[in-house]
Amino acid sequence: MRSGWRKILGDPVRAFGVVSVVLLVSLAIAPAKNHFSQWRYYQNNYTKLIRDRADAVTLEKRLERGIQQIWLPEQGVVDRCTTCHVALKQASLSDVAEQPFRPHPPIPHSLTEFGCVTCHRGQGPATNVHEAHRSSLAWEEPMLPARYIEASCGQCHLSPLAGTPRLNAGRRLLAGDGCVRCHTLKMADGTVFQGTDDPPSLKHIADKTTREWMFAWIKDPVAYSPTATMPNFHLKEDEIRDITAFLVAQSTPLAAAAGRSSARSAANSGADDSQAGATLYGQSFCASCHAVQNAAGNLVGGDLGPELTRIGTKAKPQWIEAWLRNPAAYDPETKMPRYRFTDQQIATLTRFLLAKKDDDLLAKVRLAEGTAEQAAHGKVLINEYGCASCHEINGVRKPENFAPELTRVGSKGFAQIAFPPNVPHSLPDFISAKVRDPRAFGPSLKMPQFKLTERQIDDVTTALLAQSERAYTQPSTMRVASSHDTHYRPAGKAGQLMDDLRCFSCHRINGRGGDMAPDLTWEGSSVQRKWLADFLRNPETLRPALIRRMPKFNLTDSEINTLTDYVMTVYQTPAFDRDIAPAGPTPALVEQGRQLFYGKYACQSCHIVDPAKDKGYIGPALWSVGSRMNSSWVYQWLKDPQALRPGTMEPNQHMSDENAKAVTAFLSSLKSAPRAAAAKKGGGR
């Protein structure tokens, strides 16, 4: 036995020596690892970097050696990033491009209160480069690529922020491009994303358009309209044939459209008429909401309503007439106001719209009468592709949870993802690949092809990455709540009228409505009654140079009275009393105001009072402001414009009471437009 040991270990003294050395070396491993650790290397390099700088002493003093840590137990933050990133707070190193020594760019949050991983992800407690930055078997969440960084803002900030244009755009796309109609998406505060797009009901679709048009549209929506929201489902032609057969079969005729006799025969036609149509289209400011492609292929007009370039190929004449007469009869939820058109006007406008067509679109579409069998198969396909998630269809129920919920998709585990070839194994790459080309994940998948630019894909990816686990698990006190429109509805006769005119499609009042036109919450305090009545009668008097502007609704005198009374009584600011004028305008005060206007405050750089001399083009023309605005409003406005209209462009000039009174007196003295004014343009928005 003994000789056996001796054989293996040799001389016992020598063996003891070897074992001792091995022991010593193994004991030295830990201190050596510590000594040669990456963070020590970086801290030493940092000392070398700052040695020759002017503020070396200060920087050296601020350098804290050893492992550093930001510990925020409530937020689950244990971040040792500052061990290597030693200069995050040293603004004087802004010229240093070398990492890990760059200072953090200015942001509105303190690094010590939020830590690093809250925004950048990665493994906070790690103390070597790879473990901290990248994913491993034990840590799935690598650092977030910088181009998606706004996703992290979205974990707490649930409403749009000035500093996060990508996130805002991404969330707008999720709500406005139909994503949330199939995918449920809840914000961290429980708010469910609501679709802001307006997919039409298909219950009376056969009144509106032909089966041929439906066929061309479903085959490729973009061929009809480059601004189409509907994605491409890449369906086969016989599938589309069957779907359209069902859509025609399920459509019920709407009484309103059928009842009225055609007005077209009542009017003459010809070149004069098409000119009249163009004029009426212009006067009614249809272009405020609807775009049309011009000869150069550019879209001209607003995007509140659908594009009308090829409307004559789509809509049936009787339907256009009925729609122009009363849009809400076909679509109670429409944003389009009811213009008070005469039959003659409706006929003219209908012919004008019907002429906007593109015969090539339907040239190759030949469909035989749909059979019951085809319609039945069409219904199966409609259920299969979830068409009813967006559209109301007779006999098809809106599917629940049609597509996977995206509420926490920003922390989706790798185990749940089947990466197709050529997609790098990271969550942002997965999400953007899926949004870019859903069918690359399998030809049998139902998700359609959306038409998005690369930038929009990044925007959507950013918004989805904001739906992270952290957004739900962090303390709710960190959340900045999502903003909602109120449910404000004006009451009574005026309320009905405002609903009929769809004022809220463009104007915002008491927290509800669109943003195309001015907020009217305090309109009654701001304008004079007579001016408002005249304006409603003929809206072209204000800012005639604008392309997108208030249309003329052809209101009756009694309607105008109802609206004016309501606005003047109800839409009043509590901040001041409209009826107490700031000062009686004496000629001396008016003259003093004129001098301040042109001298100290140089108001003519943005406003025009005398069209012969002033050129300012930004604010509205002021030559008749004395007969338009209430003088106490003018006074309060001069004192603090943002208090009356947050975000308005006019700077607060910090006027003294005396100066504001004088300028108010001057402005109130401007009662009517000078003769030359008619020829000049009135200024932009």
Binding site: D95, P105, P106, V129, A146, R147, G616, Y617, N652, H654
Partner: protein, 243 residues
């Protein structure tokens, strides 16, 4: 040591994929060679860090006689984080190559290059600069669009008529580095906050100090510095770099 080596490999791989991640590569070999390359459009753009620039970059390859060369291979080069879609392709029938550039996540000036080779493998490159705005300067750009641009930008667009020509004292465009670089941050802040008269200039520049916050004005100064041409130098131009 092994761990270090693996890490180095992973890092190198990561950097390599970061550079070439955009789109399918064109493996077609060039059959035609040019001997000059120039940027036709898309240089000196200002975009958000990490986002695609508004306009694509178009480069043109010419031969020794100065005529356009279709079918020449062009490769785009830039620091990691910059994405080109596509990163390489043969020039089209008019001798041009068009690519969409997304700048890296770091704010700053990016120096990029379009490279082509002649038959002998000699490289010809056209260098160009693009600017990526970070959080603060993006905020500044938004404020600029809301409050400043209408007067300070002499160009009119279809939806935005410039007020520049209507002013008797002409405002400086924010890219006018020759003039604005001479102002200190404090001077710029004073003129934004108190208006032109603060530095003995026209009252047509109104005071914004009662409308904008201090952070807003800092953001505006950051934006003005970021877009100035020639660049604003505190300690020499710093380009976004390879790390």
């Amino acid at each position: 040591m092994m761990a270090m080596r693996i890490m180095a490999i992973i890092l190198a791989f990561g950097l390599a994929t970061a550079c070439n991640s955009s789109g399918p590569q064109n493996t077609q070999p060039a059959t035609v060679y040019g001997s000059a390359i120039a940027v036709s459009s898309g240089d000196k753009q200002i975009g958000a860090s990490g986002a695609a620039l508004d306009e694509p970059v178009v480069v043109q390859v010419n031969d020794a006689q100065g005529t356009a060369t279709p079918g020449a291979a062009v490769v785009m080069e830039g620091p990691p984080g910059v994405r080109f879609a596509p990163v390489t392709r043969l020039t089209d029938s008019s001798g041009q190559f068009t690519t969409v550039v997304s700048l890296g996540g770091q704010a700053g000036r990016y120096q990029l290059a379009a490279v082509t080779q002649d038959r002998g493998g000699k490289r010809f490159s056209a260098k160009f600069d693009e600017i990526a705005l970070g959080y603060q300067s993006m905020l500044g750009r938004q404020l600029n669009n809301q409050y400043c641009d209408r007067c300070h930008n002499p160009e009119s667009t279809a939806v935005r008529v410039s007020n520049f020509d209507n002013l008797s004292a002409k405002p400086h465009a924010f890219s006018e580095g020759d003039v604005l670089n001479k102002f200190t941050d404090a001077d710029l802040t004073a003129i934004i906050s108190q208006g032109g008269p603060a530095l003995g200039r026209s009252a047509e520049m109104p005071p914004w100090g009662y409308t904008l916050s201090k952070a807003d004005m800092q953001a505006l100064v950051a934006y003005i510095r970021a877009v100035s041409d020639p660049p604003y130098r505190t300690k020499g131009v710093v380009y976004a770099q390879v790390h």
